[in-house]
Amino acid sequence: MAVLALHDIWKRFGATIALAGAAFTQEEGEIHALVGANGAGKSTLSHVISGHIQPDSGSILLDGRPQRLGGAREAIRAGIAMVTQETSLAPDLSVLENIMLPRLGMPGRLHWKAMRRDAEELIARLGREAGVSVTARVRDLAIGQRQIVEILKAVALNSRIVIFDEPTASLSPRETELLFDIVRNLAATGHGVIFVSHRLEEIFSLCRSVTVLREGRVAAESVPLRDLTQGELIRLMVGRELSDIYARSGAPARAVREEPVLRVGHLDAPPRVRDVSFTVHAGEIVALAGLVGAGRTEILEVIFGLSPAHGGRIELDGKPFTPTSPRHAIRAGVGLIPEDRGMLGTIPDFSVRENLLLAHLGAYRGFGLGYRLRRPAIQQLLSLLELPEHRLLDANLLTFSGGMQQKVILARWLMLSPRLLLLDEPTRGVDIGTRSSIYALLRRIAAEGVACLVVSSDFEEVIGLADRIVVISDGADVTTIPSELIDIEKLAMFAAPRSSAERTHAILEMLAEREGGVAFWIGIEGGRVFCFDRVGSNRAADPGFDRGGFPEIVATRIPAALGRRVPRFIEEPDGALATMLVPVRGRGGHEFGLIGVTVPATSARRDEAALARVIRARLEGEPARNAA
């Protein structure tokens, strides 16, 4: 029997009908995806389930009994909890206090000892890998860890149903994996999980069934995901075919390769940016790929004059460029589309029109407003954005959908005909239907000769959108690679921060020293070697690639060994080098590339089996996989 069933839910906000007969059914121990384009009502429906919003009509059955959820507190009592995207934690309280916060609102005396025991048990059960301690102050935790505390808080209420509202939006791939482990654990222990997201790859890897909303109605109810393809799901969400959401029209416009518009050399801006070099040409989309905290946003901030550089060089159109303020950068032809549209991109008290003209106001040199000068440009932009003119007079940009807000903010900069556009997570919080139109817009902007520098944590987006990818890890560029040469897995390994690659690095150091050669961590794909890490400087044992390199196998010095890929020393035909390669697997059982060591052929030792065992034991043995 269904734990939770909603039928014929209607909800109207003013003139907008958010839900028009929506329905939803949740089974016990099931991870159920709730998807839909922005404005489809998925957020409203999840808030109805969590008691935050009262439906106008409709029935809610909990264990088959009619239930009226008068508010969030009643929903919590009924065993329904919600994990929101913007965490609702108190930053100055400890993890323990935050987890137990809802209990503070319940009658009766508090039993700190028991609460602490419960919290520790919860962490042991769900969040051990995240390294969260009950006494830590929430302020000191990483975003991913905060999210986990939020989940623990929900579970601590003995919730039978936990709703996740776009939980991975700000998480790195590693944190996402950790979160998914927790979600699977939850489901395995009998909790029902409702997963609201618009990242399809996540839905497919995590959820069992899906309910699709479109314009407040159910487009598909409780369909098993194994019966659907991504394309079919997209069609259900947007009601039409999306042949290619990344709008790539054959080869990118790379014909014009003159001087780069932007050249960044050894940029140093502590604490987050250490040593970053890359270029962006006119007409090109370059992505800074990496995890949250790798320093990507900070690179944009330096280029836009929001924070100072400590060392290194920035050149704009071949001339040295040291921006001292956003104003300075804007006058030099740079524009920034920040990640947080609400907090950094919008003036809430201005009309949409004035928000559109905001960057013009910043760039305008006269005393007056000069709005009239831009009238022709506005007309042109409106048709580009597919925005009806009367919406310009709307009092508040924040009532627009995320995608439309983003388009208005993009248009704000286009009006100034920039040389270089910096975009920080341009599609965050934008649904898949609108995303494709933003990609198309960016392509068009690039095609008109604007250099685009995009920061994104979504590796699929990075590969789909960018011409070239600069991988950033721990404030330094690891490699720059054309996007058609790389896949998501390789990108994630390049981007791995020192903290998570430490174990591999230690093994490489051990190998290089013990064998007296060069040790490396690589991936192989399409006849190329992707070198994620390399230790050892013995010239005589150089395999022919460095960290960040991605040469073709035939161009390396060890093609024979790379062709065989076996955990034995393989001598190259010329007899100079011998190389041993050990394929390794990650925690989740997925391929994790190869660990290899190259030595001069004469000094190759023959205890290969023991060596392979040591590598595997140190890489795969610890920490033990969660018993899921």
Binding site: Q85, G342, P348, D349, L358, G366, T399
Partner: protein, 333 residues
């Protein structure tokens, strides 16, 4: 923070069903003030036959000049989400400068010295608040104390008399039957209105108060205009000092006491949000008039002056409540 959360929530905001009239009043602070003014005037003229006489109206104009000048500067500061508690003290200290200068250098130069003092101390406020990133409440509270103290130090705690006739003429002369000082007030508000509506700097003040980070990223000169708001507030305090001197024909270190609260009250009654980004200079002028009317009306009715505070205070709170109801509870004022 709270305002960003209130407006950017993911769930659609609950909008009350509004009639057209309510919507019009909600969106047009100026219209709302006009309606309120007419109502107040109608009530007062019904209660007291003396209210609408020329003499009393001249009296009302006279009383609104000083409060109005100070409230103008205060409006700009509140628009950027700041507050200036030092305006009263700056009136006091710049009046003393006026009194110390005119016996030796003549009235024109003395007025320049007075205005320069106000603007300079406003500049100090603005630079410390903006460059030092210190809460405006704290900085201007400090300046409030410093200004008053300097007024006593410079004057030796005694009042200055023998105000020249040319200075007195500022408030005693009139043009087409309207007092010169009142014409100056109207001119100042007209300039401020034009600036806030049609100049880049004016819109920048609104943008700063609404979302300073977004304004900075759009390339607006956030620091420059933030400082400018405090400079204008200091300058207008000094303008008030000139008219105050001209009116009471004596300069006292205690001049301008309480102006800070009066000016903030006028701005709030005028519909501005203390969080910044929302407000209107015409609304502030209306707020000044309403406060003067209420005081004047209570006088005409022979109500004890001790009741004035209660009346004004109630209006402040009522104004904010109305603002909140009209804006559908979206924002705190």
């Amino acid at each position: 923070m709270s305002k960003a959360l209130a407006t950017s929530g993911r769930t659609p905001a609950r909008r009350p069903v509004q009639s057209r009239v309510v919507r019009l009043l909600a969106n047009q602070i100026e219209l709302r003030m006009l309606v309120l003014l007419v109502v107040v005037m109608a009530v007062l003229s019904r209660i007291s036959p003396y209210f609408l006489t020329t003499n009393n109206l001249l009296n009302v104009m006279d009383q609104s000049v000083i409060a109005g000048m100070v409230a103008l500067g205060q409006t700009l500061v509140i628009l950027i989400g700041g507050i200036d508690l030092s305006v009263g003290s700056l009136t006091g200290v710049s009046a003393i400068l006026l009194g110390l200068t005119f016996p030796h250098h003549g009235v024109p130069l003395a007025i320049v010295a007075c205005l320069a003092t106000g603007a300079a101390l406003g500049l100090v406020n603005g630079v410390i608040i903006t460059a030092g990133r210190i809460a405006p409440f704290v900085v201007t509270l400090g300046m409030m104390s410093i200004g008053r103290s300097m007024a006593y130090v410079l004057s030796g705690a005694s009042s200055i008399g023998n105000i020249p006739a040319s200075l007195a003429a500022l408030t005693s002369d009139s043009l087409f039957g309207i007092p010169i000082d009142f014409l100056c007030l109207i001119a100042a508000y007209a300039i401020a209105w034009l600036f806030l509506t049609y100049a880049k700097g004016g819109r920048t003040l609104y943008a700063i108060g609404s979302n300073v980070e977004a304004a900075r990223i759009a390339g607006l000169s956030v620091n420059l205009w933030s400082i400018a708001a405090y400079v204008v507030a200091g300058f207008m305090s000094a303008v008030a000092a000139v008219f105050l001197t001209s009116k009471i024909l004596s300069i006292d270190p205690i001049g301008g006491v309480g102006e800070e609260l009066d000016s903030i009250a006028a701005v709030v009654i005028g519909g501005a949000s203390l969080f910044g980004g929302r407000g209107s200079i015409i609304g502030t002028l209306g707020g000044v008039f309403i406060m003067v009317f209420i005081r004047n009306g209570l006088n005409l009715l022979n109500v004890s002056p001790y009741w004035q505070g209660t009346a004004i205070g109630s209006i402040i709170i009522a104004a904010v409540l109305v603002e909140r109801l009209l804006s559908g509870g979206r924002r705190r004022a």
